[in-house]
Amino acid sequence: MSTADFPADSVGLVTPRRIPISQPLTLDCGRTLPRHELMVETYGELNAARSNAVLICHALSGDHHAAGYHGTEDRKPGWWDNCIGPGKPIDTRRFYVVALNNLGGCRGSTGPNTINPDTGKPYGPDFPLLTVRDWVRSQALLADALGIERWAAVIGGSLGGMQVMQWTIDQPQRVAHALVIAAAPKLSAQNIAFNEIARQAILSDPNFHGGRFYDHGVVPTHGLKLARMLGHITYLSDEAMRAKFGRMQRGSQFNFNFDVEFEVESYLRYQGQSFVERFDANTYLLMTKALDYFDPAREYGDNLAAAFARAQARFLVIAFSSDWRFSPARSREIVKALVEARRDVSYALIESQLGHDDFLMPIPQYHRVLRDYLDRVAREAGT
């Protein structure tokens, strides 16, 4: 299609920018990155008062391409295009929307698959493991670079929602509104267990080479594929899988072998394969560890309310009824702590079918709540 064919409510053609962050960044692991680069896309215009900036924090496999198209040949727009655009809930006619690929990502920001200036080779396993706090530090430096003193809103789902919470605790004066979607205050043992299996799948792939697979000209496709297949099971509800695949078979007979027979097998293999083509195994390991480590209450005597007592933002917490990865009960833990900390908070429970992935879906009640909340945020920001 040509640019004229982009939908009217799309931000249209977008060009990512690489933003250098020249200040040293000291990480939770104790190491310091003297400088780093972040891939960023922005949509809409920053107003003169610089009061209408919104930060989008991505989840495990997300990146800076949240909306619009990179070219006329793109089959699909950015990962949250149904929510970001002119007239959409995150309305780019009113907000200046900033989406980035997090530090440690694999889509152009400094990470395991970028060149370590000290060695001239990809960092690979030498890239430090990161925490959500590290990401907030890095994103705060990005805000400085963009001239944004305070975000009108910081928004994120899943692991993105965890970054939102951490922002309100670590940078309280820089967040006016926090939208925490399909998140949890920390991972459960079950969550960590799933992550561990995903990591073991990658680590035990012979092509992983201790994380230095770039030097060998191979990719641990098998392990990364398994990790993604496992992840996908946790993103979907039992009900959704039943509705989508049931016990549908590709043929009418049993084959009595291990080729794909059931449709759900075919789906998982397809999802795994397409993921391998766009994602880096070291980044996957890093992201799952950041998830496991996330626990903002930890440095406040395991008291989440004490952590949130620092926050100045107003909160909107959203959960999905069919999400079992980060169930509504986990969101209620967040709400409970916010109430105890006497923060302004609203909580919406969205009826849904798909599971954790529903936070990316244009469910009418979900988008309505986002739109209604953000309409107030925009008016407060004077846009």
Binding site: L316, R332, V345, S346, Y347, A348, L349, D372, R376
Partner: protein
């Protein structure tokens, strides 16, 4: 003296608003569109949250900038700490709960003061219908018996018996007719003429 709530507020809510101290922290159970919270926030500097199950009402509250938590009242108040609010308010919902007595116990645990309102099942219209062998359909109880949320109706006298039995302190009460007035008839025979009962309750000393 603080000014009386204006007629713009629903009359039974205006009566409740008159009970609430400026600057208080309040939890409104079944807050609907958040009318009471919005009014109290604007005119009395009150802060707090509404609990509401209906998605339409939740969206309305969010649009109006009212703190609303989507939850089922029958799920209880377990997410809220002891005496964490100055007032916990529940209007016209008591009779629709699985266990109204447990709900009030919880209200008086979470709130220093509990305010509950309910339709009086002792009103003469109800009695007249029952005397004729019919389930009552009245202006305050408009639904037919097979399609009503009201599963635990009580009279003013029943309610006060329960308060006495549980040692809940009745700090104040207002018994109103359908026009939300306290007339002479209600003062003479409250259980016969009151249509809407409003109670301000407190847990017995040392029973939090």
């Amino acid at each position: 003296m603080k000014p009386s709530a204006p007629p713009s507020l629903r009359p039974d809510l205006a009566a409740i608003a008159d009970w609430i101290r400026p600057g208080a922290r309040i939890l409104d159970l079944g807050c609907g569109n958040g009318e009471l919270l919005a009014w109290l926030a604007e005119h009395r500097g009150v802060s707090g949250y509404g609990l509401e199950i209906d998605p339409e009402h939740v969206a309305h509250c969010i649009r109006a900038g009212i703190n609303v938590i989507q939850a089922d009242l029958d799920d209880g108040l377990r997410d809220f700490g002891d005496a964490s609010f100055d007032y916990v308010v529940m209007t016209q919902a008591l009779q629709a709960l699985q266990r109204p007595d447990d709900a009030i116990t919880e209200i008086l645990r979470v709130g220093r003061i509990g305010i509950v309102t309910f339709p009086n099942f002792g009103h003469w219209r109800v009695r007249a219908a029952l005397a004729l062998g019919r389930m009552p359909v009245t202006p305050t109880l408009p639904e037919p018996w097979y399609d009503t949320p009201n599963i635990h109706l009580c009279t003013v006298d029943d309610f006060e018996d329960l308060c006495a039995q549980r040692q809940w302190i009745i700090r104040s009460r207002r018994l109103l007719d359908r026009s939300h007035r306290e007339g002479l008839r209600i003062r003479i025979a409250p259980n016969l003429f009151c249509e809407q009962a409003l109670y301000m309750l407190q847990a017995p000393e040392g029973h939090r």
